[in-house]
């Protein structure tokens, strides 16, 4: 039997069977309030939570900064707030792009390559932003510390350089560990899915 014979057979008879299969399936078209279980929707949910957290954090830092008396504390909080605000703007853009993609009903190739692009962008930028959050805190704390130092009447030449070097070493180690952990975590969540999608895209394009 060849594919052509099977097609003729199906066209002649199988529609009756499909009717039976359709009748077996649930009478309700879809349950109201049902939730998506796909990884893409979980990604979308994760973006929503992070967006809410980043926006709340930015606002919280700003509110505390307004009522703070110490200049170093105000600078520290304003820097963190600005960083979180920029992060939330980016997350909003990413959310918008992800939603548009989830709604896409283009070709299979466009859908697969779009999903790959979306996840790669998400993981790449998530990695960059989450790892840059630690140095942002360190830099903000350093600036705040420096202002505090000057405010107390010390001269810049009196900076304890050993403490500064130690501070930098701790910052670098923390940043590297954070990056490694985030990378591992993202790979654990999306790595296999990405590989699978790339294999399918190759399958679509490959004609050998």
């Amino acid at each position: 039997m060849e594919l052509e014979d099977l097609r003729k057979h199906i066209n002649a008879k199988a529609r009756e069977s499909y009717a039976v299969a359709s009748a077996i399936s649930s009478s309700a078209v879809f349950d109201a309030g049902s939730r998506s279980v796909s990884l893409l929707d979980k990604m979308l949910n994760s973006i929503r939570w992070e967006l809410a957290f980043a926006a709340a954090f930015a606002l919280g830092c700003l509110l505390v900064a307004i009522s703070a008396n110490s200049l170093p504390v105000v600078v520290f909080l304003v820097l963190l707030s600005a960083y979180s605000f920029a992060f939330s703007l980016y997350l909003y853009r990413l959310h918008h792009r992800t939603t548009s993609h989830v709604l896409s009903t283009g070709s299979i190739r466009a859908s697969v390559s779009g999903t790959i692009e979306l996840i790669e962008n998400f993981t790449r930028l998530y990695l960059r932003l989450s790892t840059s959050f630690v140095p942002a805190i360190f830099v903000a704390a350093f600036i705040a510390g420096l202002l505090d130092f000057i405010e107390k009447g010390y001269h810049l030449t009196e900076i304890p350089y050993f403490s500064l070097i130690l501070y930098s070493i701790i910052a670098i180690i923390w940043i590297l560990l954070m990056r490694k952990f985030t990378n591992w975590w993202l790979n654990r969540i999306y790595g296999r899915y990405l590989l699978e999608l790339k294999r399918r895209l190759k399958e679509i394009d490959n004609n050998e």
Partner: protein, 159 residues
Amino acid sequence: MLSEAEFIEGVREHENIIWKVISVYLDNPDEHEDLRQEILLNAWKGIRTFRGESKFSTWLYRVALNTAITFYKKDKKHQGVHKSMPDNFVEPVDEPADHENRLAMNEAIDRLSTIDKAVVMLYLDDYSYPEIADMLGITVNNLAVKMNRIKWRLKQKIV
């Protein structure tokens, strides 16, 4: 754009498409409902993209295939894989020999790759080459080469 009632009616009428796609791509029957819900949710969310230029069944096929091919659940073992063509592709039975042949064909199709299975499914459903190529996002020439290769592979597997 379709109204909610028209959408529900359209889905009811063509639910066999969803069922077929699920049967091809999911192995575990416990997860069929998850993918079905996912397809329906995506169809409902994307209803504004349906402008009546193509048939509703073609549009739904596209949504179902897109969802199934990119479907992945983190908390369970990955599905999106390999299940034979729906059993009813080989039913009803005419003669035992024919039935045997169709079962062999069914098993051969089952061993095809994810994308090749989608091509076969659309071909068996009588979609034209330009329609299949459009759904896949490749050229008709590319599809023709793919189709020849699939037919050759199926022949090899059956022989």
